[in-house]
Amino acid sequence: MTDQVTNYKCPACTGPLRFAEKSGKLECDYCGSTFEVGEIEAMMAEAEAKAAAAKEKADAEEVAAAATAEDLKKEGWDFTSLEDNWGEDGKKMKIYSCPSCGAELICDENTAATSCPYCGNPTIVPGQFSGTLRPDYVIPFKVDKNQAVAALKNHYKGKFFLPRSFTDQNHLEEIQGIYVPFWLFDGTVSADVLFEATRTFSVTDKKNIVTTTEHYNVHRVGSMDFNGIPADASSKMPDEMMDAIEPFDYSEIKPFSTAYMPGFLADKYDVDVEQCAVRADARAKNTAFNMIREDAAAGYQSCTPVSQRVTMDRAEPKYAMLPVWLLTTKWRDQVYLFAMNGQTGKFIGDLPVDTKKYWLTFAAIALPLMAVLALFLM
């Protein structure tokens, strides 16, 4: 059964609209018209109504098609070998109809924005962004695809152990701008920590060095506020990659609008808020403890925690779509995934290590050093 999806079409030429990172507007690739996000949002109500109508029509066609199949079966056609049961995979798939060309789009159940593989038009699934699934905020893309590609090449530079063939032979398989669902956590962390601190000084007389250590019980109780600790809410995104491209600049965060979506992929969240909160809490508590310890340790030579109680008082989490460029390369049949912060341009991704070069370098450092030391010590 197909579901409803929406294209953003140019009011001037009905060509597909795409969100442009540099201008922050929706642009038509065909006639070059540009539109403010607000303008296009106004068109959304009408587009959604059309999409609802298209959905009803598609449902009716689906019923008719089922009847036709039944009729054919009655007429002696054997369809028993055609399995319509997709099993577990089927439960995670959704079928949409492209408003532009009518083609069927088979997507992941979490897909919220994609493009039609037949006509290439950006397509939004408004249902993924409605009700409780509607994000609160979005940070629009600021860096474009070309910058992401350039960043990838730059990422290779200065990597001594990167295999030469990796840069020569690997191919950029895919580059996708994705709005990744994040939970943003606000909260206040309270910490009550008791430290044992020491201050040491020495006095030297004619015969001895007298080292005196003063011991103190240092008690600190404090609190601090955190704003928008992000935790990616998509199970498809590796947590370490999403953590590594932080931070995001919240001064540019916008109220959510699907008008920022055209031209990019988007998923709705599939990791619930409680799961993500655990990670965010740990990060906040860790930072709070370190700050408290830093204050307690001032003026002492050592500062060891004796007891600690760190709690977090969470505010209501926010749901936001944050921009990420994902780049996929393939080298020697292995896929390498890179990510770039779509707002700040921070680029990360693990690179392969040339084992031969590693050990040659190791030997080139160790062996001459051994020879020099042997010359002086043996």
Partner: protein, 428 residues
């Protein structure tokens, strides 16, 4: 036949008559009288009393040979020929003194043409030039031509006085020399224990070992246990050690080479000092420090024999190293097998660790996808508030550590202070 026998008898008589003056000599034991002019009783008395007493007392044959000519030799050579030919001297070393008098007939009496002294065996080493001059000075009074008158009775008297003086002077010289040697021997009790912490056998064993090594290396190895070093010098244990060393005439050779370990039991102080060119060269600052490590553990456990034994043994090694031109010093400690393994480990592992650190740093740059553990980027500005900041003093702990040796003690060589001493002191 009768004529033949008569002629033979006459010939023999003639021969006896002709040769008899040449064979005219008397041997009185320690006196050979080639002139046969002197009274036999007198010569016997001199030989059996004065000369024999001296000879027996010192085990050095003290004899007199009186000749009328030197058969073409100089008198000195003639005396040596006699000494060797007649195997004068006692024992395997032919220890002895020969006074050879060259006398000639003068009227009814005799006159002295000169004398010579010949020393053999130990006598040659005991009679240095100073003693030989002393002896000659005494003999010159009697055995000069002017002292002899040509009257036999007077000449016999002067000879008696001269030989008596000879025996007396030899007696005095040998007496003083050997007494001094005995004194030195008594003084070189290398180890002295005023408190009886070492039993007699231990003390003897230490003394024997120290004497053997001291003689072998020409550098004295001494040790002493006292109740309180302040009894010798209140300035400090080092000063007391130097004073004891000096006052007791420790040391070998002109520069008084020696090493001395003083233990003062009241406050359990010790001082290890060295003196002299050889002593200071063999016992460097670093060497003394390491030597102290050898015995301090034993002294700390009140095992004084083991401590002093270690001290003597290691001192001998230090002296051997110094004689080999490689005194034990900062760099010398690196010659042992343990040190070799340490250096080998440094040569192997230090480069490996260094290479690993560099390669790990470079490899780390290949991994940039790292899970976040902090949230400092999302901390709101000025939101950190303390509701309690309380620092309460708890207690004090104190650690007292002895001052390590100054760096210059590890720079090699020996730091020589006043009086030519170098030292290392502390507590045990």
């Amino acid at each position: 036949m009768k004529r033949f026998l008569l002629a033979l008898c006459c010939g023999l008589l003639l021969l006896v008559f002709a040769v008899s003056p040449v064979l005219a000599f008397r041997d009185y034991g320690l006196i050979y009288d080639g002139t046969d002019k002197f009274d036999a009783a007198l010569m016997t008395s001199l030989s059996d009393t004065a000369l024999k007493d001296v000879s027996d007392r010192y085990a050095i044959e003290t004899r007199v040979d009186i000749v009328k000519d030197s058969e073409g030799y100089s008198l000195d050579d003639y005396a040596e020929v006699f000494y060797d030919k007649y195997e004068y001297g006692y024992g395997d070393g032919d220890d002895g003194i020969l006074l050879m008098l060259l006398l000639a007939e003068d009227g009814t009496g005799l006159t002295c043409k000169g004398y010579s002294l010949c020393f053999g065996g130990d006598a040659a080493s005991l009679f240095n030039e100073e003693y030989r001059d002393t002896l000659r000075t005494a003999l010159d009074i009697y055995f000069t031509p002017s002292a002899w008158s040509g009257d036999l009775a007077a000449d016999q008297a002067i000879c008696e006085q001269g030989l008596t003086a000879y025996a007396d002077v030899v007696d005095n010289i040998l007496g003083s020399v050997l007494e001094a040697a005995d004194t030195t021997s008594a003084q070189t009790a290398f180890f002295v224990d005023e408190l009886g912490l070492l039993d007699e056998s231990e003390l003897n064993e230490l003394n024997e070992a120290a004497a053997r090594l001291s003689e072998e290396h020409g550098c004295g190895i001494y040790g002493m246990i006292v109740a309180d070093y302040r009894d010798y010098d209140s300035a400090g244990v080092y000063e007391a050690a130097t004073k004891i060393f000096t006052d007791n005439g420790f040391g070998y050779g002109d520069t008084a080479d020696g090493v001395f370990l003083l233990l003062s039991m009241d406050d359990r102080d010790y001082s290890l000092i060295a003196h002299g060119d050889k002593g200071n060269a063999a016992f460097t600052d670093y060497g003394k420090e390491k030597l102290a490590d050898e015995f301090l553990d034993d002294f700390a456990e009140d095992d004084y024999f083991a401590g002093f034994s270690d001290y003597v043994e290691v001192s001998g090694k230090y002296l051997s190293l110094q004689e080999a031109g490689n005194p034990y010093d900062v760099n010398s400690g690196s010659s042992g097998i343990g040190s070799f393994l340490i250096r080998l480990a440094i040569v192997i592992f230090l480069p490996l660790i260094f290479a690993f650190l560099i390669c790990s740093t470079l490899k780390k740059s290949m991994k940039t996808a790292i899970k976040g553990t902090a949230a400092a980027d999302y901390l709101m500005t000025d939101s950190l508030n303390f509701s309690a900041r309380d620092d309460q003093f708890s207690h004090i702990t104190e650690v007292i550590a002895p001052i390590p040796q100054s760096d210059n003690s590890h720079g090699g060589g020996t730091t020589i202070g006043g009086g030519g001493f170098s030292g290392h002191s502390g507590k045990f």
